[in-house]
Amino acid sequence: MIEFWILAVILIVSAVWTIAASKPVYSVVALLLNFAALAVLYVTLSAEFLAVIQIIVYSGAILVLFVFVIALLGSGVAPFPMGPNRLPRIWVPGAVVVLVSLGFLVYTVSQAVPAPTRPPNGPVGAANVFGSVGDFGTALFTVQLLPFEVTALILMVAVIGVITLGGDQIRDAAPRGHERKVERAMREAILREGTD
């Protein structure tokens, strides 16, 4: 029980720090903390395989991707150059919607009759116990084969999309001199005025 509350606190604090940090690099680090706490939480829920996957994929791949992009955009340390805030008080309706929804959810759930948690079906670490690799793998390649294949397709589409979006830049030489200045001026204008 106690581990739940500690982990819960870490989860919430790191989430708030993610969205509130002044520099994007700090946000990435906070997010990393979030993912780590989440992985531990998964372990407490007998989902060992998924905890590992969380670490490897989420914090090991996605966050690294974020870091690369921050580095690429040159705004990791300095604040991102931005134009004037066009919706300055949007947090007001946002807060209203969020609090109302949250309250509603909490109230609804509290009205529900909780179901008793079933006991685990084997010692942790044993081969086909719930939450283990074997159990997971068996399900993935037999019962849930279709989602697996579709996911593979989605990943391929994502790769194609990324290459289409930015891949040509690898081949083209970066523009030099005056063209670079013009491009930068255009981009700064976009940032200032938006893209409409």
């Binding site: 066009r86 946002g94 919607v97 609804t108």
Partner: protein, 654 residues
């Protein structure tokens, strides 16, 4: 020379419709002029002078075909008189076809025969005109339209021909369209004709609503069963059309202005054929008129009044064509009066003879006009009997015919009409007819004397004598004007004329007409009329041709022009009245719609629609900020709504 109306008790079978069959000659004679018109329209520039010969040949061929159809037209088989060629059926009761019976055959002869002479004459008259081929196309089209009018066996075909004839008249009056006066005259003629068309349409509505058919035969068969007031209204509205087309008071104002067209046009359309369409209409629908004495009285009166007014106005004109125009109006008034009171054969006889001598008058005037380089004012003529003897003799014979000098054709026909007034019980109309005969003599001889007698008062040194192409047709017309009356109309009941029309107007005319033998025998009325004619001619002689009148002729004519009473100069103010009552308000209404209603109401409505569409668009556009965060907020809001909904739907809450 008694008339056919002496036949009282002889019951002749009445035939209402032609003998059905296949008559290719009839179709050919009807469509040939159309082909001629289309050829001239399409190939005008290539044809050039050939257009005139082509159309003459076409119209002449139609005449020949009509002559060949004599037997078909006069056949009387079973219940039918004449030839009926069916042309197809549109709806039940709407059967179209052609009918060639004695009445329409007569009109066809005049249209194609006199038409041929006039078209031939035009080859010379219109020589050198820029739009030579277009003229002949229009003439051929007119002949086709007029044939459609007289050859139809149903009211709708009649109306189609009616409208097309009005259109052809518009084309031809405004032929020289760079003259604003010609354009205005054409428009005036057309508008007045349209008024008549509306009347005709109402008549046809009434007929179709009550008889459920558009055929003449069905209408006449059903006429006995219709209520008298209905028949009166049918006849009255039909007569509106007839009055417009035949230039009867008060729809007559277009005819004098129509003289803006070339002289052959005036001869053909506005003397011999188109203006007689009203007479044809009344004669054709005789069975209907015989059922409504009130309608007959109306028509007779209008005809008589028109005859009188036309004659009076003819006394004050100085343009030779206008004199002839008012003369036409007056003579048509006679014809309408004749067929109106029930003297069908008389009115139609006058049409027949009038076609010849009126065409002769116009073509003869055309000879003079052409020779004097388009001079039409008689004050600038004079002494032409020496310079243009051929024209003089032509005009003289025609004037003798029109005034009704015994022996000439006009005598026979006019007398039939005037006596018919008395026969059918209209002594007032008889008096009007007799008086008008005197005035007719006066103004016709006045024209003759001023133009041809005395010394030449004009400016042209050498009158350009017309060629053979113009002289020959006019010469051909002399014989009929002079002699045809004697040939066809004399002999009373046994005259060729009476026998020709024996079956056409038979029993109704006799049985229904109010029939009291008139107090005055026919010989006496003829003598009275002749005396009046001599008086009229004598006054004209004394004023214009006698020796005292010839001294300072030019000055006297100018003096007369100045002292003409204002009411006559303004032609009884009919034109002004129409202008005030109808034209001005219509123009004001048009101006109102054009300057107020159209820009403000119509355009305003459109602008309002545009405004609201824009406003709505702007409103919706204000949502599309393009800001991702705003969209995200709305997304969350929508998701929250879904959550709430599903919570309720799943029963988690109540």
């Amino acid at each position: 020379m008694s008339t056919t109306f002496g036949r009282c008790a002889a019951e002749m079978p009445h035939h209402l419709v032609g003998v059905p069959g296949s008559y290719p000659l009839l179709i050919a004679l009807w469509l040939l002029p159309l082909a001629g018109a289309i050829l001239c329209w399409a190939f005008g520039p290539q044809l050039r002078t050939l257009a005139g010969w082509l159309v003459s040949a076409v119209v002449g061929s139609s005449f020949v075909l009509a002559a060949l159809s004599w037997n078909a037209a006069t056949q009387s088989v079973g219940g039918g008189l004449g030839a009926n060629q069916a042309l197809g059926s549109w709806l039940p009761g709407f059967d179209f076809g052609l009918l060639l019976d004695p009445l329409s055959l007569l009109w066809t002869f005049i249209i194609t025969g006199v038409g041929f002479l006039i078209v031939f004459y035009s080859i010379g008259y219109m020589e050198g005109d820029r739009a030579y081929a277009r003229f002949f196309a229009y003439m051929s089209f007119f002949v086709f339209a007029m044939l459609t009018l007289v050859l139809s066996d149903n009211w709708v075909g009649l109306l189609v021909g009616w409208g097309l004839v009005g259109l052809a008249s518009y084309f031809l009056i405004g032929f020289w369209f760079d003259r604003p006066s010609a354009v205005a005259a054409a428009r005036k003629a057309f508008v007045i004709n349209v008024v008549g068309d509306v009347g005709m349409m109402f008549a046809i509505f009434l007929i179709v609503a009550n008889v459920h058919s558009i055929g003449y035969g069905d209408t006449f068969s059903a006429a006995a069963g219709l209520s008298p007031s209905l028949i009166f209204w049918i006849c009255a509205t039909l007569f509106i059309g007839a009055a417009a087309k035949s230039a009867q008071v008060p729809l007559h104002t277009w005819l004098p202005d129509a003289m803006e067209g070339p002289t052959p046009v005036s001869a053909l359309i506005h003397a011999a054929t188109m203006v007689t369409a009203g007479v044809y209409l009344v004669a054709r629908s005789a069975p209907l008129w015989n059922h409504s004495p009130q309608a007959q009285l109306l028509v007779g009166t209008v005809g008589g009044v028109t005859a009188l007014i036309g004659a009076i106005l003819g006394c004050t004109q100085w343009d030779i064509k206008r004199i002839l125009a008012y003369s036409t109006m007056s003579q048509i008034g006679y014809m309408i009066m004749g067929v109106g009171v029930g003297a069908y054969e008389g009115g139609v006889a006058l049409f027949f003879t009038h076609a010849f001598f009126k065409a002769q008058l116009f073509l003869g005037a055309g000879l003079v006009i052409h020779a004097l380089n388009n001079e039409q004012d008689v004050r600038k003529m004079g002494g032409l009997w020496k310079k243009m003897p051929f024209a003089f003799w032509v005009m003289l014979t025609a004037v003798l015919a029109i005034t009704g000098v015994p022996g000439f054709s006009g005598f026979f026909s006019k007398d039939e009409v005037i006596y018919g007034d008395l026969q059918f019980g209209h002594p007032v109309l008889f008096s009007i007819g007799a008086l008008t005969a005197a005035i007719t003599a006066y103004y016709m001889f006045r024209m003759l004397f001023i133009a041809f007698f005395g010394e030449y008062r004009g400016n042209v040194d050498h009158p350009h004598a017309p060629g053979w192409k113009m002289n020959v047709p006019v010469a051909i017309l002399v014989a009929p004007s002079v002699a045809i009356g004697a040939a066809l109309l004399s002999g009373g009941e046994n005259s060729p004329w009476a026998r020709f029309f024996a079956s056409q107007f038979g029993s109704e005319t006799v049985a229904i007409a109010s029939h009291r033998p008139p107090a005055i025998p026919e010989g006496a009325t003829s003598t009275i009329v002749f005396v009046l004619v001599l008086i009229g001619a004598g006054i004209a002689w004394w004023r214009y041709a006698s020796a005292p009148a010839q001294r300072d002729a030019a000055g006297r004519l100018e003096g007369e022009a100045r002292t003409t009473p204002a009411i006559l100069v303004h032609r009884f103010y009919v034109d002004d009245a129409i202008q005030l009552l109808f034209v001005r308000p219509a123009q004001r209404l048009g101006a109102f719609f054009g300057s107020v209603f159209d820009p403000h109401v119509i355009d305003g409505a459109v602008r309002d629609v545009v405004f609201w569409a824009r406003w709505l668009g702007a409103l919706v556009r204000s949502f599309q900020t393009g800001l991702v965060r705003a969209y995200a907020l709305i997304l969350v809001f929508g998701a929250a709504c879904f959550i709430v909904y599903y919570a309720f739907a799943a029963g988690a809450l109540h």
